[in-house]
């Protein structure tokens, strides 16, 4: 039976912190190195990035789900660099704190006081900003990692701002200093210039070689404050993450601020008002370690198992208290996740197989929603595409990840329609307004920060499907989400990128010096202009050196209209768009040209049209093909000809029929990549 370290002499001091960074700046490698240096994992395990656990995360090099890991470490107060446990302790065989056995006859105290380090991993992308901010709320400190070869990037800034907003103490770390192309001192200057930390306060580290790790461990213990004192003896614990496990249901990660939580307690989620019985409390070390005494107190983080069946029952950011001794109020700052980008998923099949494949898609979507509560879905039906789901996402990356996971984990092939943003439509009258599929359109939540300026006798509706737009006669105005976009880039590209922002209806806000070679520019750009190819364009223009981040700051009214696309005279809802009036013709023409490239010729002529309220503003024609027969059967090589035709047959499987026109899946994506 493992024991906890004896009290009180070595009652650990607690440090809760996160590592934040721009993508690929080495956050996960640093986390691994810290775990290894504190002897939590073996060198072999450290080769893999332990805190990331999903396949997709690993492939894309990003972290989607936050998790918290607890390790123990010894630090002598005042020391500038710590002994590494790898140097004086045996490996942690059962991964429990008690296994921190000391060899060479040392007493553990000779290496300093015991610290409990809880590090809380955060997603690296702005789509998951809310998750990041929840994770940061559970911390007192943040390690801000900057790549010594790349310097400060857009996400570095955004993450740093988030940490500053949460009043965290920040340790700036410059990583990868071992690389020949490292510009360590220059990057330290950038950190000072853009973030205001003194360049000499930056720790210089190579997570790869281990240089600077003893100093970083010492700084974590010295510079980060301990947890605040409890303000009540009633339990208040913040849920900062939750993951779904096939066997145990939802596993909730909590940070206790006040009171104590024990196995057997009946807990109550203040926001959802759901109650559950706690069956297990433990810590990830990083292997799961069930606490033998089953209890945690103020300042600690832990995972909690409480027979919670679905992630829908848990809200990240909610406060856990006790059912029989509830705290008077929740911890501050909860917000529901806000879906900003929407698109439809349909099963990709021929017309015959629709029913079966829809069921398969439904299973996949429901299963995925168990472990990603921030995407929403509702069934839709489209003339062209049959039955499917309209899904909402935190952002574009989130959308890509969900699609990929559905295809990979759910084994379904998906036709994805062009993404749209969530519009706010101000309409006259307060009667219920129904959308295209007969369902009532949702009003914008009154508690939303974007709910404003709704005169008496009118209502503000949420519309993210162009087909759902109410009769324009009743519409007072259409408001769209506006992003604050920050782009960090080498100076020579500024002109091009500014032009791109202006072309995308951007408003210039700001331009700031980062270093002698780089600047950061700030624009306000409609989200709708960002969700197609903005990022790729910006990357292309800056030879890959530009980085950007965006955040929705408000909704603004503009001259927005619905543009229909007609194929062979039939409007195809999946290709309808809400566009700015001034850009309608341009967007329409572009869309038609792309459609024309994607839709194969048929035995008849197919007109393609863009229309605003019945008025055609652009037209293209796909000419009929007049023959589809190869002259020769290749002598006796019948197989070759047959394989050609079989390939065509397979290709048609991923197509959809609109009337008598067969449209490949790619055509529906044509709306996506409309360049200039």
């Amino acid at each position: 039976m493992p024991e906890l370290p004896p009290k009180p002499s070595s009652a650990p001091r607690i440090r809760n912190f996160s590592i934040i960074a721009h993508i690929d700046h080495g956050k996960s490698t640093l986390a691994d190195r810290l775990l290894q240096a504190t002897n939590a994992v073996s060198a072999r395990e450290a080769k893999e990035q332990i805190l990331d656990s999903m396949d997709i995360e690993r492939e894309r090099g990003i972290t989607i789900k936050a998790s918290a890991v607890t390790v123990y470490h010894r630090h002598k107060p005042g020391a500038g660099a710590d002994d590494l446990e790898t140097d004086f302790e045996s490996p942690a065989e059962d991964a429990s704190p008690a296994s921190h056995q000391v060899r060479k006859g040392d007493s553990p105290e000779s290496h300093g006081d015991l610290y409990m380090l809880n590090f809380i991993d955060t997603p690296g992308h702005v789509d998951f900003n809310y998750e990041v901010s929840r994770a940061l709320k559970a911390c007192e400190g943040a390690i801000l990692v900057v790549d010594a070869t790349q310097g400060v990037q857009a996400q570095t800034l955004v993450n740093a701002y988030l940490a500053v907003n949460e009043n965290l103490t920040i340790i700036p770390v410059i990583n990868k200093i071992d690389l020949p192309s490292a510009r360590t001192l220059e990057v330290a200057e950038e950190v000072e210039q853009t973030l205001g930390f003194a360049a000499e306060d930056c720790l210089l580290v190579s997570a790869k070689t281990g240089v600077g790790i003893p100093e970083l461990l010492a700084a974590i213990c010295e510079r980060f404050p301990g947890p605040r004192e409890p303000v009540t003896d009633k339990l208040r614990a913040l849920i900062f993450d939750a993951v779904y496990d096939d066997y145990r249901g939802v596993i909730v990660y909590v940070r206790v601020f006040d009171g104590r939580l024990r196995v057997g307690d009946k807990i109550r989620m203040i926001g959802t008002e759901r109650t559950f019985q706690v069956t297990e409390i433990g810590k990830m070390t990083p292997k799961p370690y069930r606490l033998p005494n089953g209890e945690i107190g103020p300042g600690e983080t832990a995972y909690v198992v409480a027979a919670i069946r679905s992630l829908r029952d848990v809200r990240i950011g909610d406060t856990v208290t006790l059912e029989n001794a509830p705290a008077a109020e929740a911890l501050p700052g909860y917000q529901p996740p806000r879906q900003m980008v929407f698109c439809d998923f349909y099963p990709a099949t021929t017309e015959d197989g629709d029913g079966a494949d829809f069921e398969q898609l439904r299973d996949a979507v429901e299963k995925l929603s168990l472990n990603d509560s921030s995407f929403t879905f509702q069934p839709v039906h489209s003339e062209a595409l049959g039955f499917g789901f309209r899904c909402g996402f935190l952002g574009l990356l989130h959308m890509d990840i969900v699609q990929e996971r559905l295809e990979r984990e759910g084994g379904v092939q998906i036709v994805q329609t062009a993404p749209t943003v969530s519009y706010h439509v101000l309409v006259r009258g307060t009667d219920t307004v129904t959308g295209a599929n007969g369902q009532a359109l949702k009003s914008v939540d009154h508690s939303s920060p974007f709910y404003r300026d709704v005169p008496a006798g009118s209502q503000l509706l949420e519309v993210h499907n162009p087909a759902d737009l109410p009769n324009m006669g009743h519409v007072i105005e259409i408001r769209e989400p506006i992003c604050k976009v920050e782009i960090m880039l080498p100076k020579e590209y500024i002109g091009d990128v500014m032009k791109l922002c202006l072309d995308r209806r951007g408003l210039y806000k700001n331009q700031n010096y980062v270093s002698t070679s780089r600047e950061i520019i700030t624009f306000e750009v409609p989200l709708a202009e960002i969700i197609y190819d903005f990022f790729d364009k910006m990357k292309g223009m800056t030879s890959g050196y530009g980085t950007m981040d965006y955040e929705v700051i408000e909704y603004r009214a503009d001259n927005l209209v619905k543009m229909d696309t007609l194929i062979n005279g039939e409007p195809v809802e999946a290709l309808a768009l809400i566009v700015h009036r001034d850009k309608a013709e341009f967007r329409g023409r572009n869309l038609l040209v792309r459609l024309k490239e994607q839709i194969p010729r048929h035995q008849f002529e197919i007109p393609l049209q863009s229309a605003l309220g019945g008025k055609v503003i652009a037209r293209e024609t796909i000419k009929a093909y007049r023959k589809d027969v190869l002259a020769k059967c290749y002598g006796g090589d019948v197989s070759r000809k047959r394989k050609l035709l079989e390939k065509q047959k397979e290709g048609k499987k991923r197509m959809k029929n609109v009337g008598s026109v067969t449209i490949p899946q790619e055509a529906f994506m044509a709306v996506l990549d409309q360049g200039d």
């Binding site: 002259a631 020769k632 002598g635 035709l645």
Partner: protein, 442 residues
């Protein structure tokens, strides 16, 4: 089934056309295979690679004709048991340029064919009924035709020549990089006739960049004025990997306007008909007797391909098919294409290394029959179609029938003599319609 694994596995190579990519082998002769009654021989030599051609051929700078002939004779000996002593119905020697093979090598080849197989001569007194004279075709380049060669072929049993005229217009021949004098075509036909080769065919190509409908009609008139019983009129196909395709993508010329190409199709149909020939396949026309009755001028060898009969294949890159005795499927294979690879037999028996092999698959066989059947005038027997579809995909026969009905309503397919066959309009969409049938079968 007694599969014999002695055959034909070449170690895998890195890419290139000589790649061997299968791990199976042909079954032994006999067993449950029906006897092969057709034989294809590929002669890979050319004196120039024509720009549209994607058959395997080489400009032989090292004079490997003797080595090739030796090897070919060995291969024919190894293949002979598959005919089980039955007389061959057809032999087709294609290329490449078979007429480029030297006369003395032709003599050896013809002798070895006689030794290994049973060939029924035109003048064989028993050549009747189920023992018709063997249709023995050799493809010729008009430039290389000599009386000596024709007489040699005739003596060896050849009774049919297919003359690659392609066009009578020097400019268009130049576009195709065909280097022969068009005036040699009538001369070659005349030499063949004079040597006693009684069946003669001419190949033409249309849709050549720069060709007008009038140009094409002139070519047709010149070809049909010749003393021939058969005409092939192919629309130019841009095969991947050919010089023509490369030149097209470089923008040296434009693809022919489809509308003009369709007119050209119609021109060959109507001109051939006026000359007493009928289309019996997408690109092939044969003289017919009074009342439209076949007089046997069709190329029986090609019909064997298109009816999924069994045929043996010899020579580099040649493709063969051996049907199982119940007729529901067959083995398909393709010889290794590179001459140097081909010159080394795969085993002691003398068979060739294979580049591709497909074991019998009844579902595949039905698709193949549909694909080639649609291209034929004789079309597809609806009774067979129903039974075959139901056998390989229970429940599919009804879908396939509905699909056929729909095509019929669209005016692309018609029922004639109780068979489904494509209409003139439908013939132009034969590939797409085959795909529609494949979809219906799934």
């Amino acid at each position: 089934m007694a599969h014999n694994t002695r055959l034909n596995v070449l170690p895998q190579r890195d890419g290139g056309i000589g790649r061997a990519t299968f791990g199976s082998a042909l079954p032994a002769p006999g067993g449950d295979l029906e006897p092969a009654r057709s034989l294809y021989i590929h002669v890979p030599f050319c004196f120039h690679k024509c720009h549209y051609c994607d058959f395997y051929s080489i400009v032989d700078t090292q004079d490997r004709q003797v080595a090739y002939t030796d090897r070919l004779i060995g291969e024919l000996r190894a293949l002979a048991p598959y005919s089980r002593g039955e007389p061959l119905r057809t032999i087709f020697v294609g290329g490449g340029t078979p007429s480029l093979l030297r006369v003395e090598l032709w003599e050896r080849l013809l002798r070895s064919l006689d030794d290994s197989f049973t060939i029924v001569r035109d003048d064989d007194p028993c050549a009747v009924g189920d023992r018709p004279p063997t249709e023995f075709t050799v493809e010729c380049n008009p430039e290389t035709v000599t009386f000596d060669l024709m007489a040699t072929l005739r003596r060896g049993g050849v009774n049919r020549v297919s003359m690659g005229a392609q066009s009578f217009d020097r400019g268009h021949l130049h576009t195709l990089e065909r280097r022969h004098d068009p005036e040699n075509v009538p001369r070659a036909i005349e030499l063949a006739r004079g040597a006693g080769i009684r069946r003669r065919s001419v190949d033409l190509i249309f849709g050549i960049p720069g060709q007008s409908i009038e140009d094409w009609e002139r070519d047709l008139d010149r070809a049909l004025a010749l003393d021939i019983e058969h005409l092939s009129g192919y629309s130019l196909t841009y095969e991947p990997g050919t010089a023509m395709t490369a030149r097209l993508s470089r923008g040296e010329f434009a693809r022919m306007d489809e509308e003009v190409e369709v007119q050209m199709h119609r021109a060959v149909w109507s001109r051939a008909r006026s000359a007493g020939m009928e289309r019996y396949e997408v690109s092939n026309f044969a003289r017919i007797g009074r009342g439209g009755v076949s007089v046997g001028a069709e190329c029986s060898h090609n019909l064997a391909y298109w009816r999924q009969e069994s045929w043996l294949a010899a020579g580099p890159s040649a493709s063969g098919h051996l049907r199982t005795a119940d007729g529901t499927a067959g083995h398909r294979w393709k010889n290794i294409p590179r001459l140097d690879d081909y010159l080394r037999p795969a085993d002691a028996v003398g068979t060739s290394p294979l580049a591709e092999y497909e074991p019998p698959d009844p579902h595949r066989a039905v698709r193949e029959r549909i694909m080639t059947g649609l291209r034929l005038r004789e079309g597809i027997d609806p009774g067979w179609l129903r039974q075959a579809c139901e056998r390989v995909r229970p429940g599919s026969a009804e879908r396939v029938r509905r699909s056929a009905e729909t095509m019929s309503v669209r005016g692309l397919l018609e029922m004639e003599d109780r068979r489904w066959r494509l209409s003139d309009e439908g013939i132009l969409f034969a590939d797409g319609l085959a795909v529609e049938f494949f979809e219906a079968m799934d």
